[in-house]
Every structure is written in structure tokens, then in C-alpha cells.
């Protein structure tokens, strides 16, 4: 039975998040709970946490691009990017979001995933454009508008998640490589990133179909 005690760490995670604590508090708390219940002494658990953190530092490296992106934003990069998106302004909410999905997948796949996102593109640009497009198709109440906005946010997530792994210098690819290397399985990041492509295509097809269905449901043109 005692081997199941450390699973309480998982309970800490679930409760911590359910009660809306800061993840930066919940995650180490869960690690400590798990470690202590597994019979390690506190200093040993802290040491393990430290070693794991230290071994995974390569995940931080991609932030090295921030000075370049920040500097270009100072000269109007985001405005240019918006101007480029706006050219693809489509007639319906479905088509608009499909274009954004494609754009989001492509920029994420080439490592520009942090040039878009909920604060940067969805709130100021995609959500208002989507709502405006939908309102041309059908009259919307507040709940309907919320649903269109939720579709805009969801489209950003789907585009990001199933685009970014095609870029081989992303954290998750490194994590896969590190984990497998631990078992003596050596893979290049490029080889792993290649296998993110079939899922990226499937994600595009599935989410696009749903967006077209949304268009059909809204009716209009």
C-alpha cells in the first residue's frame, strides 16, 4: 500500500489548481509532498528538485531571441504583422479563423510562436475581427459573442500547440530528447520535429472543419 502514498503529490496538484493557487507554489509543493511520502528526507528532496531543474536548464535558452523581437517591436514589427494579417481579412468568421489558424501554425513552426498569443494578437485583433465577421452573418447576444471570442482564443491555442513542435529548438522537443537520452536512446531534435508534421496537418483539418461548421450554424452568406 505504501507505494501508493506518493501519489498524494498528484492530489496536491489537483487540489492546488482547483483552489486556484499559483502554479509556481503548487508544483514545488507537489514535488515535496511526493518526495517526503516516498521516504526521502527533506534536504534530499530539495536536492532532487535542484538537480532536475539544473539538468533541464536548456529549456530557458530560446528566450535568447527576446532582445531581437523586442527591438523590432520598438520599430513597429507587431503593426507590420497585423497589417499582413489584415490583408487576409475574410468574409466569414470561420474563414477568418481558419486563416489565423494557418498563420499561427506557420509562425509557431518557424520559431516565431511568441510573436502572437492571447494578449498580443487575440484580444486586440483576432477576437474583435471574428466578432465583427460573425455579426455580419447573424445577430448575436452576449453569450453568442462570448462563444465567438472563445473560438478565437481556442484557435490560437490549437495553432500554437500543433505548430510549435515542428520548430526543433522548442522546449518540448528538448524535453523529449532529454528524457529518451536518459534511457540511452539518442535522437536529433530535427528528427523529432519532423514527426510533429502529421499531427499538425490533422489538427488543421479537424479544427478547420469545426470552424466551417460554425459558419454553417451561423448561416448568412
Amino acid at each position: 500500500m505504501s507505494q501508493y502514498l506518493p501519489l498524494l503529490g498528484i492530489v496536491v496538484i489537483v487540489l492546488g489548481f482547483a483552489l486556484r493557487f499559483n502554479p509556481m507554489l503548487v508544483v514545488p509543493a507537489a514535488a515535496l509532498t511526493t518526495g517526503l511520502l516516498a521516504g526521502f528526507d527533506p534536504l534530499e528532496v530539495i536536492g532532487k528538485l535542484g538537480k532536475a531543474f539544473n539538468d533541464a536548464r536548456i529549456i530557458i535558452i530560446p528566450y535568447v531571441v527576446l532582445p531581437v523581437i523586442g527591438l523590432l517591436e520598438r520599430y513597429g514589427l507587431q503593426q507590420r504583422a497585423r497589417a499582413v494579417i489584415t490583408k487576409f481579412r475574410a468574409a466569414t468568421v470561420g474563414r477568418l479563423l481558419i486563416l489565423y489558424l494557418l498563420y499561427r501554425q506557420i509562425i509557431s513552426a518557424i520559431g516565431l510562436h511568441s510573436t502572437a498569443g492571447h494578449p498580443q494578437t487575440v484580444r486586440p485583433l483576432v477576437a474583435p475581427m471574428a466578432v465583427a465577421a460573425a455579426e455580419r452573418q447573424v445577430e448575436l447576444d452576449d453569450a453568442g459573442r462570448d462563444r465567438i471570442k472563445a473560438y478565437a482564443a481556442a484557435t490560437d491555442n490549437v495553432g500554437l500547440f500543433f505548430g510549435e513542435d515542428i520548430f526543433f529548438a522548442i522546449g518540448s522537443i528538448v524535453l523529449i530528447q532529454q528524457t529518451l537520452e536518459h534511457y540511452g536512446i539518442s535522437l536529433s531534435p530535427l528528427h523529432l520535429a519532423l514527426w510533429a508534421i502529421p499531427t499538425a496537418i490533422a489538427a488543421f483539418l479537424i479544427h478547420s472543419s469545426r470552424l466551417l461548421l460554425l459558419d454553417r450554424k451561423l448561416g448568412g452568406r
Binding site: L66, P67, L72, A150
Partner: protein, 317 residues
């Protein structure tokens, strides 16, 4: 040879500079919190390999304390939207050029290094080539920007700091979760869950093992909020011992698509707060779970497709 350690020094120096500039930024009411947070990350990058596990662990706890006590803030933006708009029109699409330089250096550089005799020179640490070239690309792009646009000397550091402040503690949450995953594995939780899951798999049958691996990735991600925490556990429990070692599946497919099966879980969990709850707040939706509700009907079919890809590409091709 240029190794990962060299780029840790470079990026460590960058975080160190962000720490100093944060401390000097009077527009940020929590400037010393930011300074301490970025400073500790700089310390980890530069000296992590010498200070020992316990000191690293204390560093992790200090970062967690700074974040959970809400000691991080943001300074005022450095240029106005109107100035950026005017500047963007002036420089046009050429503004994308430095980014292209970074990407071409990383992408073409990696390809060129790995697939030509350059590799024999052993100039770059194995499997770290892309990161080293990414850093090189950044340096080249900065050189290009300085020659072309002549920004103030501190501008790249300050503008970079604006972005890292916007990301905040979430910048290292993936690292924390990776650590948690490894701790869970070290303490046998992975083996325990793996044991429970393996018990559910009929012996010597590939398909059920693939299904449990894919669904397990998604479920564990729903529980922990991040596929990064799920991956080491599921790889230890099923991916490596069963799928790769016993059944001889393609390791790249099992690793990459397994992670993507986890991402389907990310779409369905409130625990991935930064992706699912933050935008609901940002877009002022009445329902906190509005974004998740929309995502479920994409996530479930996509999970099935991922399981199919692992089965077909991992074992049948």
C-alpha cells in the same frame, strides 16, 4: 568546441543584465522582486553546475516563493503604439529581415553543420547545435539591427526585458514542471502509475499499449496541466520499456506524437491556466471555462488521430 555551457553563460549574462536593469527601473513598483527573480535564473545558468544540488534546490524554492508571493511586476512600456505604428510604416516589411536572419542561421546552420563534413570538425557540442546556432543568429541579427537602425546601446536589453516581464514567472513554469516530472519518476510515482497502467494492458499486444500510452499522456496532462510533466512519467512507464524496448517501435514517433497526445489534454484542462483561463479573463468571457468548452471537440478527435499515428507510423511503417 562550443558547448551548451557557453550558451548558458551567454543567456545567463542576458538574465543578469535584466536583473540589474529591473533593479534600476523606478516605473516598476516591484522592481526588486523582478531583479531577484531574473538574478536567480542568471545564477542558475552561470553557476548551476558548481553550486551543488542542495543550493540549486534552494534556488528553485526561492523562485517559487518570489512568484507565489506575487513579488513580480512590470515596468512601463518604452515606446508608444503610435510611435511603433509610424516606425512600422517607415521601415515596412524589411522589419521581418532580422528575424529571418535568426531563423536561417538556426535552420540552415543546423542542416549545413549536420549534413556536410563540417560535422567532422566537432566544433559544436553534439545535439546542442541548434541552440548554439540560435544564439549565433541572435548575435548576427543584433549586429544587423545596430548597423541599420542604430538603436540606443541598451535598447535590445530593455526591449527584451519588457517581453520577459510580460511572460513573468510563467517563463520558468515549464522548467518547474519538467523538474516535477523527473521527481515523480525518481520517487517511483511513474513506476507506480506505470504499474497500474501496465496491469491494464494485455501482454504482447501493441495496440492496447499504444492506446494506454496516448490516453495516459492526455489524462496525466489534464491532471498536471502540462504535457511536460506527463511526458517523463508516461515515457518511463510505457513509452520506453514497452513500446520502444519490447515492441521495437520507432522512438522518434513515440516521443514526438506522444507529447502531442499530451497537448490534446492541455486543451481540456483548467490546470493549463495560462492557455485556458487567462484568455477567458483577458477576453472578459462570463464563463471561465468558455475556451475549454470550445476546445474539447477539437481535442478528442485529434487525440484519436495521434494514437492512430503512433500505431501506424511507429509500428507498421
Amino acid at each position: 568546441m562550443i558547448t551548451a555551457q557557453h550558451i548558458f553563460y551567454l543567456v545567463g549574462a542576458l538574465f543578469g543584465a535584466w536583473a540589474i536593469l529591473s533593479a534600476l527601473d523606478r516605473t516598476n513598483p516591484k522592481r526588486f522582486g523582478n531583479a531577484a527573480f531574473w538574478g536567480l535564473i542568471a545564477l542558475s545558468l552561470i553557476a548551476g553546475q558548481w553550486i551543488g544540488d542542495l543550493a540549486n534546490g534552494c534556488l528553485v524554492l526561492a523562485l517559487a516563493a518570489l512568484a507565489s508571493l506575487k513579488l513580480l511586476g512590470r515596468g512601463a512600456p518604452l515606446t508608444s503604439e503610435a510611435e511603433q505604428e509610424a516606425s512600422g510604416q517607415r521601415y515596412g516589411n524589411k522589419l521581418f529581415l532580422p528575424i529571418v536572419v535568426v531563423l536561417l542561421t538556426a535552420v540552415l546552420g543546423t542542416l549545413l553543420y549536420l549534413y556536410t563534413p563540417l560535422r567532422e570538425t566537432g566544433l559544436l557540442e553534439k545535439n546542442r547545435e541548434t541552440f548554439i546556432l540560435l544564439c549565433l543568429g541572435v548575435l548576427l541579427a543584433l549586429a544587423l539591427i545596430f548597423t541599420w537602425l542604430r538603436p540606443p546601446a541598451l535598447a535590445p536589453l530593455q526591449e527584451g526585458r519588457r517581453l520577459i516581464d510580460a511572460v513573468g514567472w510563467a517563463a520558468i513554469l515549464p522548467l518547474m514542471l519538467a523538474s516535477l516530472g523527473l521527481v515523480l519518476a525518481d520517487t517511483g510515482v511513474g513506476t507506480t502509475i506505470g504499474g497500474l497502467l501496465q496491469a491494464a494492458i494485455p501482454p504482447r499486444t501493441v495496440l492496447p499499449a499504444v492506446v494506454v500510452y496516448g490516453v495516459g499522456m492526455a489524462l496525466f496532462t489534464i491532471l498536471t496541466g502540462n504535457a511536460f510533466a506527463a511526458f517523463p512519467v508516461m515515457a518511463t512507464a510505457i513509452g520506453v520499456p514497452l513500446l520502444i524496448q519490447s515492441y521495437g517501435g520507432n522512438a522518434a514517433v513515440i516521443g514526438a506524437v506522444g507529447m502531442l497526445a499530451g497537448f490534446c489534454g492541455t486543451l481540456m484542462t483548467p490546470m493549463a491556466a495560462n492557455f485556458n483561463l487567462v484568455p477567458a479573463a483577458l477576453l472578459e468571457l462570463k464563463d471561465d471555462y468558455g475556451v475549454i468548452k470550445v476546445q474539447i471537440a477539437t481535442a478528442i478527435p485529434l487525440l484519436l488521430v495521434n494514437i492512430l499515428i503512433i500505431y501506424v507510423a511507429g509500428f507498421k511503417l
